[in-house]
Symmetry: C2
Subunit: 478 residues, 2 copies
């Protein structure tokens, strides 16, 4: 609210400057030529007919399987993607990396004592060790549990009530938010307990940290994912409980003391070799300028990572495939990147950005598909507000396939995040995430979860967006 003449004057100047700036950004020519727009219609039509991405996903998930960092399957998948891109005539580079090599090992948890128990029995719990966790001692840990709903309750209970116990963070994934289509937002709220629960619990002397799953599954599946340690805080083991088992413990803990036995055999081995697979479809006019299309090739070890993120890699691979099929060469280089180690380290994304730090201005745009594989509702982007208007002609084309919305976010993909943070206009397919987190980071993230027709729409969006940006007549606002 303007309260003084001086402020009023300031505001008028500011408004004038914004107007001038907007006028300056107004491209004298449209960002996309009529020829490009016509070609985009052909790109879209071809992608909507192609099964190529679906077939690649089948091979990555069914024939190769889980592709966790440091495993032979991860290495095999890198070679497979490189080979497939070479077959298309792309220039392929394998960016060498050292990636974390964590091994899950045995994981077992059971209740050994609770109110009303039947003598001599236990209750088995469904858990998944969190990525990066240390092991328990070989004989396991047996201790009483303390259930807290959130960090505030942990703090309130304090060391006296927490020391020597197993903390259960019972923060609930918001199913109503997820059912409304905002699973990503529900996940964003819950995931902090997974990430830093063990640090918080250890500060009060807990001997282990169990978190209610940060995903939406109500099918007795625990949701794995990465966790962090703080060098200044004692490391304690961390695992996720299924929704049902968290409910069980919370229910019993209200009735009396509950004791748990926990045995985790997790191990962190020396860093392993890994590679970002980088495949260039060279641009005809500005080959040194790059539009990235990407996903991450590694998956968690529990499912086969079809939704997260074989499908994202496959729809990226399909961009040059469709252009080759149509005989179209982009003006800028389209660079397919299959990132390594998104799940438990983010080494691939960080190392790529580090290597390219002197060439970031040549990165015209970066696209990543890592929020599911289903019918996209539109495009997420991170960058200047004006980008939304700039890509409107692309949205016009995508509207015919039911994908014509935009939304702006701070970050749109973990692997391209380091590029986004340094000003590279960044894009991602945007989904209704109602069901994605029912499968995400569980055994149930498998090939059958992908609908081939929905995947075609995703692949079409990727190809249209990438080709449009690669052929843009001028720069994007940045």
């Amino acid at each position: 609210m303007i309260t003084t003449t001086r402020n009023l004057l300031k505001s008028v100047i500011a408004i004038t400057l914004v107007a001038a700036s907007l006028a300056a950004q107004q491209p004298t020519a449209p960002l996309f030529s009529q020829k490009t727009l016509d070609e985009l219609q052909r790109v879209q039509a071809a992608a909507l007919k192609s099964d190529r991405a679906y077939e690649w996903t089948a091979f990555l998930t069914n024939n190769i399987g889980p592709r966790f960092s440091g495993t032979p399957q991860a290495a095999r998948a890198e070679q497979y993607v490189a080979d497939e891109m070479r077959k298309l005539g792309l220039a392929v580079e394998m960016q060498k990396l050292k990636v974390p090599h964590w091994v899950r090992g045995e994981e077992r948890a059971e209740l050994v004592s609770w109110h009303g128990m039947t003598a001599g029995t236990i209750q088995k719990l469904v858990i998944k060790t969190l990525g990066g966790s240390i092991a328990t001692p070989p004989e396991g840990i047996e201790a009483e549990v303390v259930v807290v709903e959130n960090f505030a309750e942990l703090e309130r209970l304090g060391r006296e009530r927490i020391a020597g116990k197993v903390v259960v963070f019972n923060y609930r994934f918001d199913r109503r938010l997820s059912d409304a289509g905002f699973g990503l937002e529900a996940y964003g709220q819950a995931v902090q307990y997974r990430s830093s629960g063990a640090i918080a619990a250890a500060r009060y002397g807990a001997v282990a940290s169990l978190v209610r799953s940060a995903g939406g599954s109500q099918n007795r599946l625990a949701h794995t994912g990465g966790m962090r340690y703080d060098p200044a805080v004692t490391k304690i083991p961390g695992a996720a409980l299924s929704h049902e088992d968290a409910d069980l413990i919370a229910h019993l803990a209200k009735q009396g003391p509950v004791r748990i036995r926990l045995k985790l055999g997790a191990e962190t081995l020396p860093d392993a070799d890994g590679h970002n697979v980088i495949a260039d479809l060279r641009g005809s006019e500005r080959p040194d300028e790059v539009v990235i299309v990407s996903g991450h090739l590694d998956s968690w070890d529990v499912g086969t990572g079809a939704l997260d993120d074989a499908g994202g890699v496959a729809v990226s691979m399909q961009v040059p495939y469709i252009l080759k099929q149509l005989g179209l060469q982009p003006k800028r280089t389209i660079r397919v990147i299959a990132y390594a180690n998104e799940e438990n380290g983010l080494v691939g994304g960080r190392e790529y950005a580090a290597r390219e730090s002197s060439r970031l201005e040549k990165h015209f745009a970066a696209i990543e598909s890592d929020l599911g594989v289903s019918h996209p509702v539109g495009i997420l982007y991170a960058g200047r507000p004006e980008v939304g208007a700039a890509i409107e002609p692309i949205l016009q084309i995508l509207r015919s396939q039911g994908s014509g919305l935009t939304r702006r976010e701070n970050g749109v993909g973990a692997d391209i995040g380091p590029l986004t943070q340094r000003g590279v206009p960044s894009f991602a397919p945007w989904f209704n995430t109602r069901k994605y987190f029912d499968y995400h980071h569980t055994e149930a993230d498998t090939f059958d979860k992908i609908d081939p027709d929905e995947m075609k729409k995703l692949a079409a969006l990727m190809a249209v967006l990438a080709y449009a940006l690669a052929n843009a007549e001028g720069p994007l606002p940045r």
Copy 2:
């Protein structure tokens, strides 16, 4: 269609007989007195307010846990139900039984060879040994798989293609039928492969039988359940594959030979002690006539059997609870039965009927709730067609809670089946079974799957139906 005078005459006689018969069946007085109908309104209102069944279910599932035949938890649950019924002042009898005692033991399966595999890797499969299966040899079985869609394909392939192999029955649970509300029918179609797949496969020399899950879960859960052997056919081990793993194997088997390693540690121990818990609320006018309200107390060993069937037992227990609360004594005896060993033997139901074989005419009606715990849409019954009309006044009352339909079936509950077959009018709550088979016989059949408000409607239906039948002014058509 009538084509001759003789046939016409026959038809006229037939029609006259039917009319006479209907007239004879027409009760001179209405089946339910106005006093009873007024009391039923009170019974319904009280049940719709009561949490008692929900609380009993919580204890059975959370505090006791899985209640598989032969386990300490099964015995504990029997004592618990007996104690709770005694607390209500009912006369409790424990019918001694010998029940099968099968132990699951270790269960592991993995693909060890397939087209495009990464050297040195395997693919873990999610399986559940079928109840009653024999073990594999201690070192496991390793063999090639043969995928068949149904029994006809097995027969077509014949011994030459089947001998020495692991047969995968890939018959798909009909999700569209289930999504339309007919999960029970979808299950009925699929379950034959689980029941008798091992017999069929062994006839052609197979070394093991794997069936695609007979339930609807698409969350990497395998669906356990009973299987049969034929004394004339070699016994081979049997297990269920998750939907996803069946898809995986079918997909890979189209590309080349697939080899599997299977290790099952199942064991059948000597029969164990078990009991039907039989609790009578004595009738005021015809105490020797009995209306049964029942469910089965045993569960599979994998979940905690909340839907199948702790909830069914609990809503049966709640019938006398509500009547006591209202100070109502039924004219006939209401008999609560918590049957033992429904899941893997059906000993409880069979032995009860055998014991009562000379008193079946004193069994006025039998009710069992074992098709889920959710909002009932009405009443299933087995018996003469006229029963539908006879219970119409009950349906009128239930309509106010959204449960006013009837459907007739041959059998309506496994435990009361032997009574049904011998003419006892039999009833069950009837559900939309869209979701029930997503959880049924899996780890995910847990307490959280029950909505307390829906359970109240189920409990109200049970109480209204049981009290109405117990107070009927005349016999049901039988």
